[in-house]
C-alpha cells in the first residue's frame, strides 16, 4: 500500500502539475507509452501516482480511493455537496485559473446586473411562454448562486461543451461557464454581468478526509507535506 496521489491525466493541467511537483523535488511521470495511464513517482517514498480525468478526481477523493488529488476548485465545489467535510485544501497551485461567471449576449444593453437579468427573465417568460434558459454544466453552483441572489423565472439547461455557442444557436439565452481571459466569450458576442462572478477557481491540491491512512501512509503524507511547505 502507498499514499495515492491523483493527477489529471492529460494536457496542460497534467504538465503544469508535474512541473509544480518537480520544483519541489518530486518527479512525476507517465510510465510506459503516452497512452498508458500509469505513473511513476521519484524523489519521495511511499507515494504512488494515479492518472485520472480531472472531472473524476473530486469523486475519487470523496470515496477515499485516493488520498491526495489535483483538480479545480470549481469541480470540487460543484460535485461535492458539503465538500469541506470530505476534502481539505492543501495548496493552491497558481495555474488553471478560471472564473465561473454568468454571461449574456453583449447586445443586451439593458442587462448589467443580476437584478436586470431577473427583470429580463420575467419579461422573457411572458413574451415567449417559457423561462429564460441558462446553459451550464455547473448546475448546483449556478442554482445556489441564483437562488441566493433571488433571481427567478430561469431554467438551467445542460451543456457539457461549446457552451458559449448555445446563445447563437438559440438553445439558451445566457450561459454560466468557466472563463480565464474572456476571449471565447467576446468571440461569441457575450458579456459578463458586473455582479455575475460565481466562483474563482484554480488548480488545487486536495487531501481526502475520508480515505483510510495506514501508518505508512501517514508517514508518506507528512513527508510530502514537509516538501510542499
Amino acid at each position: 500500500m502507498s499514499l495515492k496521489l491523483g493527477v489529471p491525466s492529460k494536457g496542460r493541467l497534467m504538465e503544469k502539475t508535474f512541473g509544480w511537483f518537480e520544483k519541489r523535488g518530486i518527479t512525476l511521470s507517465r510510465s510506459g507509452s503516452d497512452r498508458e495511464y500509469a505513473g511513476k513517482v521519484e524523489g519521495i517514498d511511499g507515494v504512488s501516482l494515479i492518472l485520472l480525468s480531472a472531472g473524476e478526481i473530486p469523486r475519487e477523493l470523496a470515496a477515499g480511493r485516493i488520498h491526495m488529488g489535483v483538480t479545480g476548485i470549481d469541480l470540487v465545489h460543484e460535485k461535492l455537496p458539503r465538500w469541506e467535510q470530505q476534502v481539505e485544501e492543501v495548496s493552491r497551485l497558481g495555474f488553471g485559473k478560471a472564473d465561473l461567471i454568468i454571461a449574456t449576449p453583449a447586445c443586451w444593453v439593458d442587462v448589467d446586473t443580476l437584478d436586470d437579468l431577473d427583470a429580463a427573465a420575467a419579461a422573457f417568460r411572458k413574451t415567449h411562454g417559457h423561462r429564460l434558459r441558462i446553459a451550464t454544466k455547473y448546475h448546483r453552483l449556478v442554482r445556489e448562486f441564483l437562488t441566493e441572489a433571488g433571481v427567478a423565472d430561469y431554467n438551467l439547461v445542460d451543456s457539457q461543451g461549446a457552451t458559449e455557442g448555445t446563445v447563437v444557436n438559440e438553445t439558451a439565452e445566457a450561459v454560466a461557464d468557466i472563463t480565464s481571459t474572456g476571449e471565447t466569450l467576446r468571440a461569441n458576442h457575450l458579456k459578463i454581468l458586473s455582479d455575475g462572478l460565481i466562483l474563482q477557481s484554480q488548480a488545487t491540491l486536495w487531501r481526502s478526509r475520508v480515505a483510510k491512512y495506514t501508518e505508512q501512509d501517514k508517514a508518506a503524507l507528512s513527508a510530502l507535506l514537509d516538501r510542499l511547505a
Partner: protein, 362 residues
C-alpha cells in the same frame, strides 16, 4: 428509535381522525409530471425534488408534496364543497444536511369550500391542534393576504407592484426592489447614460439569441418610465416596514395592524378577514390570546400560500423542521384550474417527528 411501521400506524390513525371530520381519502400517484411542478416553482424545485424520466411520459418527479396533485384532482373532477385527507411518502432531495431524511410520511387535510373562509381556516387549524394535543409545540401564524393587500394598494405604478408581488417570497430581492422604488438606491453604473442615449441599441455588436431587439427596447422604455416615476412615499414605506416587523400575540398584533392601516388603508379588508378568523378560532376553542402572529411568517418557504399561514414547531428542538404547516392557497386553484377557482385551505403533519418528540418527552 421509532420504526417505519410505528410511523405508518400513527399516520393511519391521524387519517382516520380527518375522515371522522368529514374528509374523503385520496391517494395521488407517487410519480408526478415534472412540467407542472417546474412551471409552478421554476428551477428551485430541481434542488428539492428527485427527477426521473422515461421516453413515453418524459420527465417525472417523485412526489415532493401532496397539495399540488390534490388541487389538480379536485379542479378536474371534484364536487363542491370537498374535504380530503391523505397519508403517504413524500421525497425531498437533500444536498446540505445529511441528517434530514429524503423520504418521509405526511398526513394532510385540505378543504375546498366557498362558504365561510374564516371558518374553514379555523377548522383546519383547530383540527391540526387537536392532532398535536399534548406535544410541547409552539404555533406560529401569519397572513400573506395582508402583505399582498399592502403591496397592491401602494400608490405607484402597476409595473412596480407586479415586480414586488413577484418577489414577495424572496425577502432579500423584495428589499432591494423596495429600496430602489423608494429612491434609496441608485441604479447600476452607466444606467443613466443608457437611458439618455438616443439610440441605446446602437452598439457595435450583433443581435444574437432569442431575446429580440424589440424586447430590449421595451425594457429600456420601461426603465425610462420608471426613472420618471416618483419614489414610493416615506409614509407608505414606513408603513410597509412596520407591517413586515409585526410579531405579537394575536390581539396585540391586530391592534398594531389597525394602527398601520392608518398609513396603509388598503390592508383594512384583509384585517377584517383576520379579525373574522380570530373570532372563528376562538369559537373553536383556540386560545387566541396566546397565539403568535408574525406578519412576515411564511414568506420564505411557503410559496403558494396567499392568505392564512400556520406552522407548529417543537419547543426545545430548534433542529427539527416544523411538525405541521399549512395555509390558504386560493390563487393556486386559479392557476391550476383552467379558468375555474375555489377558495382552499389545508396543511400537512409529520407523524415521524411527532413520535420523535414523544420519545424525547419520556
Amino acid at each position: 428509535m421509532t420504526n417505519t411501521s410505528q410511523i405508518q400506524a400513527r399516520a393511519a390513525m391521524m387519517r382516520v381522525r380527518f375522515e371522522a371530520a368529514g374528509a374523503q381519502v385520496v391517494d395521488p400517484p407517487l410519480l408526478q409530471p415534472a412540467e407542472t411542478l417546474l412551471d409552478l416553482y421554476g428551477e428551485d424545485i430541481r434542488a428539492r425534488a428527485y427527477v426521473t424520466s422515461d421516453a413515453l411520459r418524459g420527465e417525472q418527479m417523485l412526489r415532493p408534496d401532496f397539495t399540488l396533485p390534490v388541487v389538480q384532482m379536485h379542479m378536474n373532477e371534484g364536487a363542491e364543497p370537498a374535504r380530503y385527507t391523505y397519508s403517504g411518502e413524500v421525497f425531498r432531495r437533500q444536498e446540505h444536511d445529511p441528517d434530514r431524511p429524503n423520504e418521509y410520511i405526511q398526513v394532510g387535510y385540505e378543504v375546498f369550500d366557498r362558504n365561510d373562509p374564516a371558518g374553514a381556516d379555523a377548522e383546519v387549524f383547530s383540527l391540526f391542534a387537536l392532532q398535536l394535543r399534548g406535544l410541547p409545540l409552539r404555533a406560529a401564524t401569519g397572513d400573506i393576504g395582508i402583505l399582498t393587500a399592502a403591496v397592491q394598494g401602494l400608490r405607484t405604478t402597476d409595473r412596480r407592484k407586479a415586480a414586488l408581488m413577484r418577489h414577495l417570497w424572496r425577502p432579500r430581492r423584495f428589499r432591494v426592489l423596495l429600496d430602489r422604488f423608494a429612491g434609496r438606491k441608485p441604479g447600476p453604473e452607466g444606467r443613466d447614460t443608457l437611458l439618455d442615449a438616443e439610440n441605446p441599441l446602437g452598439l457595435d455588436v450583433p443581435m444574437i439569441g432569442k431575446r429580440r431587439a424589440s424586447e430590449i427596447e421595451a425594457r429600456i422604455e420601461a426603465l425610462r418610465e420608471d426613472r420618471d416615476t416618483p419614489p414610493i412615499s416615506d409614509n407608505e414605506l414606513a408603513g410597509l416596514e412596520t407591517l413586515l416587523n409585526v410579531r405579537e400575540t394575536m390581539p396585540f398584533a391586530l391592534e398594531q395592524l389597525r394602527d398601520i392601516a392608518v398609513d396603509l388603508p388598503q390592508i383594512t379588508p384583509a384585517l377584517d378577514r383576520l379579525e373574522a378568523r380570530v373570532a372563528s378560532l376562538q369559537a373553536r376553542g383556540v386560545d387566541v390570546e396566546r397565539l403568535d402572529f408574525e406578519a412576515s411568517y411564511g414568506r420564505t418557504s411557503m410559496e403558494y400560500y396567499d392568505g392564512f399561514v400556520f406552522g407548529f414547531y417543537a419547543e426545545g428542538r430548534p433542529d427539527l423542521p416544523p411538525i405541521a404547516t399549512g395555509g390558504r392557497y386560493d390563487a393556486l386553484t386559479r392557476q391550476l384550474g383552467n379558468g375555474a377557482e375555489i377558495p382552499a385551505v389545508g396543511g400537512v403533519l409529520r407523524p415521524d417527528l411527532m413520535l420523535e418528540i414523544e420519545e424525547d418527552a419520556q
